[in-house]
Symmetry: C2
Subunit: 263 residues, 2 copies
């Protein structure tokens, strides 16, 4: 029995097809989000990669910011539930989830049954999200992919005093004009994101195992800064951007079983 989870975020759309609720058949991701053709392209992607037709998929759950705009979904489930489900499946025993996406950040405290206990999120402020890193990479005339490697070369531990993306941008410009090396600035940028997001995580609750997901989990510099800020190791699942879609596919399978048992 095949189920599909689709996660329609603000900057990317992700899909996962699962067999019998325990085998990932295929995954797809396109870098366009809600309000675009992203969901159709992801659907086409997972179907062609798996050789399945739409009629083979027995249940579809949509999640993410744009979840209400995908007409083929049987059900919409919140990102928080889907992320919790997906991460708990990949990393049993997870206690704290830190998810930093392109335009938001969320942190979830998970109980020992793998259920969400509390959460804290930032959806309104660019600080502490992927967007903050995009802006900073722009000012530094580099790309976000380079940031992790750059901060590894830092030799000076300094801080950016402004949390706000706009004010931090001015600070970075003045650091550059004062001749501070880019690696040191990037380290400070990563610390700024870490501080902001760990503040959020502490509001939800922090204890090991800490798992990080979302696009920014691919930035090793931010991961290191979070580990330092929390003084705890951070686990990154493979494909950290797919956990929402995976959780949606897992919840689709559970819904299918439930529907069967109630028929």
């Amino acid at each position: 029995m095949y189920t599909l989870g689709i996660d329609i975020g603000s900057t990317a759309t992700k899909g996962v097809i699962l067999r019998d609720g325990n085998e990932i058949i295929t995954m797809a991701k396109v870098n366009v989000g809600a309000g675009t053709s992203g969901s159709q392209r992801v659907l086409d992607g997972v179907l062609s990669q798996s050789g399945l037709g739409v009629s083979d998929i027995k249940y579809i759950v949509a999640t993410g910011y744009g979840r209400n705009r995908f007409e083929l979904a049987y059900q919409q489930i919140s990102e928080l539930s889907c992320h919790t489900k997906g991460v708990s499946y990949l990393v049993p025993g997870v206690s704290t989830i830190i998810d930093i996406g392109g335009q938001d950040a969320k942190t979830i405290k998970v109980n020992n049954k793998g259920k969400m206990e509390s959460f804290a999120m930032n959806e309104k402020c660019a600080a502490g999200t992927g967007r903050f890193l995009d802006v900073m990479a722009g000012v530094l005339e580099t790309t976000v992919d380079q940031l992790g490697a750059l901060s590894a070369q830092a030799n000076l531990d300094m801080d950016i005093s402004s949390t706000c993306t706009v004010f931090a941008e001015s600070e970075v410009i003045s650091l550059l004009s004062n001749g501070v090396g880019i690696p040191n600035i990037v380290l400070a940028i990563h610390k700024s994101v870490a501080k902001r997001v760990c503040g959020l995580a502490r509001r939800a609750g922090v204890s090991p195992l800490v798992v990080m997901t979302g696009g920014v989990a691919q930035n090793s510099g931010v991961v290191r800064a979070i580990e330092k800020e929390l003084d705890l190791p951070v686990t990154i699942p493979s494909n950290p951007q797919m956990t929402g879609a995976l959780g949606a596919a897992l919840l689709a399978y559970e819904a299918l079983l439930e529907n069967k048992s109630t028929v």
Copy 2:
């Protein structure tokens, strides 16, 4: 007896010389803030304009973000106290002060004795400050001076949904590319600032007379948007950027009288 008030802000430094606590002799303003030569230049300015020497000034009060860095000051007094003093002097009966500066916004509830009763301020987020307008003017390839006149030409009442400067910037770019006219976008920008700042004002308390000060008070579009948002007329004193320095000069005179009476 001459007193000097100097207001060292983040983006501008202002000075006022007062005779006998009731006559403004001269004012000066330079568009550089704390951490620069701004305070020296303002001092030179007010002295040369008035033909006075430093020794003629009997008491100097410094206020503003950089107030602790001006060595000639006899006393440092908070911006909130100085603004309240200066505005109450210029507009007797003021009840609510809305001050929007280059990088911050503060709102003060004044009681019927002209004393601060409560306040609310934003010093950390660029939204709802002059910086927000600078960023938006940049995206629209215009200058902040033009914004008031532009929004007066609007023919469509629309909103920007993001409060965050960074996300609002993206929204404006997409409005532009969708062919929305600049005057309509500027109106929406002014409404965004007004909403943000009036939220702050409501936390402090709003009742007539409402007085607006700070650099952004010179933007007629923001003033109109605040009047609409509060459904109250807004009074702008002449030289709305000088009220902090004026209040400092007034408090300097009070300090002088007190010192005399205790001698």
